[in-house]
Amino acid sequence: MGFFEQIFKRSGQPEVPGEPKKEEEGIETRERTSPIPGPEEEVLMSGRANRTEKLFGARTMTFIEIENDGAGIWKSRDIENERAAYIVDRFFGFNLVPPTVIRTIEGTPGSLQQFIADAKTGYEVENEKFPLPDEDVVKMAVFDFLIDNGDRNGGNFLLKGNKIFAIDHGIAFGRYGGEIYFYRRNDMLNRMIPKEVKNNILTFVAQQNSVDLLRGFLQEILSERQVAAFFRRLELLVGCSRRGRFFSEEEWNSLVWGPLH
């Protein structure tokens, strides 16, 4: 039986390689395993909006200065995708997406994402001196596959020093079935997955509590179809993580995308 036949013959749940962790008496599992909300999210949710600036050119976006605590970018479109991308980022420790919450401003719900000061977009960085190590680009590719991101161009990632930030995930989670990437997809095939990334994926699926928590968070904001597709993609990445490499060209060309969007 081939690699992909094995994957799609399994049930919808990712395989758990070991026994589920036994709960210790008296300890709230949710408190131990949920990475959200964090303190930065609390600021975004509750911080007083000192000043707002509607942004030129951008549809439905506002810069919001938060009293004594930085700023955020608020947008009223694709808010569930933006929040879901952040939740996934936090659960798997990619550390790419700035903190993002859903917050109602003047009666309109939107996503509010922490503003990264002094950052450059990909378009503003010299290609020859692209400061990211290869493994950061592969990490981004893994993340983009996991969230089914159909749009990663030079305008929607940021660089600050050696740190990369992934922004603008409106076209994710099945919203668009194509591919737009600043990296060439073919350059990612069969690349080694960074050790931290693969360990985080394998550790996550080994903790049923974490799987259930994430599923619960995603179900609050995404459709059943989107959540199911997410876990199918995760299952494929578990296979990649065990091998230590992103999909080979043969595997990639064998992917049946319908159930993965």
């Binding site: 030129f56 050119g57 970018i73 378009y123 305008g155």
Partner: protein, 90 residues
């Protein structure tokens, strides 16, 4: 040079926006010329192009695609950090 153009704004730390680049439709209406004090941005834009979000395959557009390139700038630059205006006809 045509006065038909698009402004591309860069969000500053204080929430203000500065014009990073101006892309104008050439007099022949077939080519776009972008100007900016940031040469890296202009070089990347010329080399990498942008995407046509009205096309199902999201094909690439370049300066030589003229008005179509201008039309699609606002769909490519709408992250908040870089935002493109609608086409401005003057």
């Amino acid at each position: 040079m045509s006065m038909t153009h698009v402004n591309i704004y860069k969000l500053q730390n204080d929430g203000s926006q500065e014009i990073l680049a101006v892309c104008r439709l050439g007099g022949d209406n077939t080519t776009v010329v972008c100007e900016s004090s940031n040469n890296v941005f202009i070089q990347n834009l010329a080399k990498e192009g942008i995407r046509d979000y009205s096309d199902s395959e999201r094909k690439q557009l370049f300066l030589t695609d003229g008005r179509k390139f201008l039309e699609q700038l606002k769909f490519n630059f709408n992250s908040g950090y870089l935002n493109a205006s609608d086409i401005i006809e003057e």
